[in-house]
């Protein structure tokens, strides 16, 4: 009687973090290709904001120190587009968790954090598409970059850095909430004051005295002002004594690092908790 030969199954080597993250990023980008309406928030919605404020409201809005309102507006809209990317990541992650996709990923030999890394990279790409669309729209309505290439690139880098920080907020919310509807409700509640109670659309000096400090210390105001200065758009912040608007580039970096430092650990903990359930 011959002994039964037991053939050893080959060990599946766990994919490296970078490979797994790339695969998940690619998966998320394929979703955009298959459902182009996913880009509505950073394309049609943002273009509508530009057209509405530039042509409908723009004629009645006074920019202190003169200057073209369209040039004043575009950096603010670009910052708003970056902030919307946090809602995209939150909705996408909640959807994956709700449908059990993340549970399927857990059965694969990949690092659990690759799900988050992939999601954050794809969201940054998603937001970057928005910046390209906004840049093209801006050029059509009369916006121009008036400073050098280096300054222009620094402004874009600041936008991406802030977008990265906001993505961690999105991951945290996406891991905490159970339904897409509740995510949309919460993100709207967070993003609405964040983007509007700032110098995004109108100068903070025109707001009531009690609201001005809120707008001036809002991280969105610092980033918007930094982009305006680096691109040479609109008046300088000399009319405001607020420290963040006097040092907008530095404050944009500080805010981005601070937000990432706060929300990244919270997001990782929430995601681990949720994917253990």
């Amino acid at each position: 009687m011959t002994a039964i030969q037991t053939e050893r199954r080959p060990q599946l080597a766990p994919a490296s973090l970078s490979r797994a993250s790339f695969a998940i990023t690619w998966r998320n980008l394929i979703h955009i290709k298959r459902q182009p309406e996913m880009l509505l928030d950073v394309t049609v919605q943002s273009v509508m904001f530009v057209l509405l404020f530039a042509y409908v409201f723009g004629g009645a809005i006074n920019v202190p120190g003169g200057g073209d309102y369209k040039e004043f507006l575009l950096p603010g809209i670009m910052v708003q587009t970056m902030i919307f990317s946090s809602a995209t990541v939150a909705i996408g992650l909640t959807n994956d968790l709700q449908k059990g996709i993340v549970d399927r990923f857990k059965s694969l030999p990949i690092s659990r954090s690759s799900v988050l890394v992939g999601r954050s990279i794809s969201s940054l790409i998603h937001a970057s598409i928005g910046i390209v669309v906004m840049g093209a729209t801006g050029l059509l309505v009369g916006w121009r970059i008036r400073e050098g290439v280096v300054d222009a690139v620094i402004a874009i880098a600041l936008l991406l850095l802030f977008g990265f920080a906001m993505i961690w907020l999105g991951i945290w919310v996406g891991s905490m909430m159970r339904t897409v509807e509740s995510v949309q409700g919460l993100m709207f509640t967070v993003m609405f004051p964040l983007t509007f109670v700032a110098n995004t659309f109108v100068p903070s000096q025109t707001m009531p005295d009690w609201l001005q400090p809120v707008a001036e210390w809002n991280p969105v105001s610092a980033l918007t002002q930094a982009c305006r200065e680096l691109w040479g758009n609109g008046p300088a912040a000399t009319t405001s004594d607020a420290w963040p608007l006097q040092h907008p580039v530095l404050m944009s970096v500080v805010w981005s690092i601070a937000l990432a430092a706060i929300f990244a650990p919270l997001a990782l903990a929430a995601f681990r908790r949720r994917s253990r359930d």
Binding site: Y55, A60, V197, F201, T206
Partner: protein
């Protein structure tokens, strides 16, 4: 006798629609809170930068916010009518001895009630943030009458589109159009501050004369021919939408 039956049927359908409203608290809150948030935003965030030729921006913007609020409320009518068509509840109603128009009437009357509650809240918040109308009792009655006429007109228009579009998603897209009109009007900024290409549209669309009439009644600004234009627009939309909605309902449910 048939009129009495029709009224009784409509009352039942209105109660049904209002019950749905009470149970969908999030939808009601959105319809009420969003115009309030928009008003606070326009008054406090944008108001100081807006040059409208008035001393207080709040006095300029309130009529526009009220119509925007009506647009939000009417938008939900299109969704609920389309939802009924999609879910097959209409087919069940057809098997009952009820007046055919009662179902749509229920949605519209409930929409008007919802809108009036939301409008009252918006007016209350407007007073809280410094709106000070300079109107007599007669002018107040005329202004509120025009608001009700506008709400009725767009509620019937929404109901008609809800019947026409069949799906909730398509009806949702229609609400976007309804909400877009007040922005390209004299609601937030004077039409003469817009580019000439937009001025023509903004000055001659239905929302602008309604806003200018309300502004005139409440704040004493010149009304000119806007009052007649507002009544003509609202009355025309109401009559045509009512006829269209009833025709669509009979057509959609006859198969």
């Amino acid at each position: 006798m048939s009129v009495a039956y029709a009224l009784a049927d409509s009352r039942v359908m209105v109660t049904r629609s209002l019950r749905h409203t009470v149970r969908n608290v999030d939808v009601m809150l959105t319809a009420v809170m969003l115009p309030v948030v928009l008003m606070l935003m326009f008054v406090y965030v944008f108001g100081g930068a807006m040059d409208t030729g008035t001393s207080e921006y709040v006095n300029y913007v309130v009529p526009g916010i009220i119509l925007l609020c009506a647009g939000f409320g009417a938008g939900s009518t299109a969704l609920s009518v389309a939802g009924d068509m999609e879910q097959g509840i209409i087919a069940r109603f057809k098997s009952m001895p009820i007046t055919s128009s009662a179902v749509v009437m229920g949605h519209v009357v409930a929409s008007v009630v919802r809108n009036l509650v939301a409008t009252a809240l918006v007016i209350g918040v407007a007073f809280a943030v410094g709106w000070r109308p300079d109107a007599t009792l007669v002018e107040w009655v005329a202004a509120l009458g025009l608001v009700v006429l506008f709400i009725l007109a767009i509620s019937w228009l929404s109901a008609a589109f809800g019947l026409l579009l069949k799906t909730v998603e398509a009806a949702n897209a229609f609400t976007f159009v309804l909400l877009f009109l007040p922005y390209v009007s004299s609601a937030f900024v004077p039409t003469n501050s817009m580019p000439s290409a937009l001025q023509g549209f903004a000055a001659h669309q239905p929302v602008t004369p309604v806003i200018e009439t309300l502004r005139g009644l409440w704040m004493g600004t010149p009304i000119d021919t806007n009052a007649w234009l507002a009544i003509a627009w609202c009355g025309g939309i109401l009559v045509l939408s009512y006829a269209w909605a009833i025709w669509l309902f009979r057509n959609r449910t006859s198969s």
